[in-house]
C-alpha cells in the first residue's frame, strides 16, 4: 500500500501516455479504454478519462469520429492524429530511457 501511494503521482502522470498507446493501437471509445485499463495499476473512471481526452483533443493529439451503435446513441471513437503518433513515439522513447536509467543505477 505504501509503495503504491509513493508512486501515485507517477501513475497519474503516465495515464496520458497509456491512453495515447491504447488509442494508437486502434480507434477506441471510452468503455474500450476503461476495459483495457481495468485490473491494471492504471485502472480509471469516466470522470477522469473524459476531461483527459478533451485535453488531448484540444492539443490535437487525438481526434474522434461519431459511429452509430446498435444499442443506444452514437459513440465517439478516438484515434491518434499525426501529431499524436509523433508524441507517442517520443514518449515511448523517453520511457525506455527512464527504464534503462533506473535499471542501471545502483549496479
Amino acid at each position: 500500500m505504501i509503495v503504491e501511494s509513493k508512486l501515485a503521482p507517477i501513475r497519474k502522470g503516465l495515464l496520458e501516455f497509456l491512453v495515447l498507446k491504447i488509442v494508437g493501437c486502434r480507434s477506441a471509445y471510452v468503455p474500450d479504454i476503461l476495459r483495457r485499463l481495468s485490473g491494471t495499476e492504471f485502472s480509471t473512471q469516466e470522470g477522469t478519462l473524459y476531461p483527459l481526452l478533451s485535453k488531448l483533443r484540444r492539443e490535437e493529439l487525438v481526434a474522434y469520429q461519431w459511429q452509430e451503435s446498435d444499442a443506444g446513441p452514437p459513440r465517439k471513437y478516438y484515434s491518434l492524429t499525426e501529431a499524436g503518433r509523433a508524441q507517442l513515439a517520443a514518449l515511448d522513447e523517453y520511457w525506455s530511457r527512464i527504464n534503462r536509467t533506473i535499471a542501471d543505477i545502483g549496479h
Binding site: E16, Q45, E46, G47, S54, G72, K76
Partner: protein
C-alpha cells in the same frame, strides 16, 4: 400530493429519476461544473459525462422499470467517479490548497517574478483581480499626468509592500526587478538600523 419522478435530458438520452436521485444528480453536475470552471472544453466534458450517466443508469434499470432510483444512480456515479481535471490535484487535496491560496492572493504584496520595475503593479493586479497591463498603462498615464508625483507613490509602495514569496520552480528574478528588490531590502535594513 407527491412528485414521483423527474424527466431529465442527458445529452442524447432522456432518463427519469426519482426525486432523491434527481437531487443527487444535480449535486454531481454542480460539482463537476465547478471543477471545470475555466476549462475550455467544459461543455464537451459535461455532455460526455451526461451521456455516461444515462448509459450507466440504463444498464442498471431492471427490465420494465422506467425510473432510476437513488441507489441505482449512486452506483452509476460511483462507477463514473468524480470529475478529475488533468494536472489538477485530487479533490480532497485541492480543498486545502484552495484555502491557502485564497489567503495569499488577498494579501497586498509586490510580485517580483515577471515585474517591470519592482512588481507593485503586478501585486495590485493580483489583489484587485485586474489585468496587469491595464494597471501599468494607468500608472504610466498617472506618471505623465502628475508630473512625476507618481514616482514618489511608486517608491512608497515599493518600500511598504511586502514581497510575495516566489513560486517554487517559478521564473528567476533578473535585471531591474532583482536590483529594485535588493535596493528595497537594503533601504529597509538601513531604516531598521536607524529606528533601533
Amino acid at each position: 400530493m407527491q412528485r414521483i419522478a423527474t424527466t431529465v435530458r442527458l445529452n442524447r438520452s432522456t432518463v427519469q429519476f426519482e426525486d432523491a436521485a434527481y437531487r443527487r444528480l444535480e449535486a454531481y453536475f454542480a460539482e463537476g461544473e465547478q471543477r471545470l470552471a475555466g476549462n475550455p472544453d467544459r461543455q464537451e466534458i459535461l455532455d460526455d459525462l451526461e451521456q455516461a450517466v444515462a448509459d450507466q443508469c440504463a444498464r442498471r434499470l431492471p427490465p420494465g422499470q422506467g425510473v432510476v432510483t437513488l441507489a441505482e444512480l449512486v452506483s452509476a456515479l460511483d462507477e463514473i467517479g468524480p470529475v478529475q481535471v488533468p494536472g489538477a490535484a485530487p479533490a480532497a487535496e485541492r480543498v486545502s490548497r484552495d484555502n491557502t491560496t485564497r489567503d495569499t492572493t488577498r494579501r497586498l504584496e509586490q510580485v517580483s517574478e515577471g515585474a517591470v520595475i519592482s512588481g507593485v503593479c503586478q501585486g495590485l493586479a493580483r489583489y484587485f483581480r485586474l489585468d496587469v497591463t491595464l494597471l501599468r498603462i494607468v500608472a504610466v498615464l498617472l506618471l505623465l499626468g502628475t508630473g512625476g508625483g507618481m514616482v514618489l507613490v511608486y517608491l512608497a509602495a515599493m518600500l511598504l509592500l511586502p514581497f510575495a514569496p516566489q513560486a517554487p520552480g517559478g521564473r528567476p528574478v533578473r535585471w531591474l526587478p532583482a536590483r529594485s528588490r535588493e535596493f528595497v531590502e537594503f533601504l529597509r535594513a538601513k531604516l531598521h538600523a536607524v529606528a533601533s
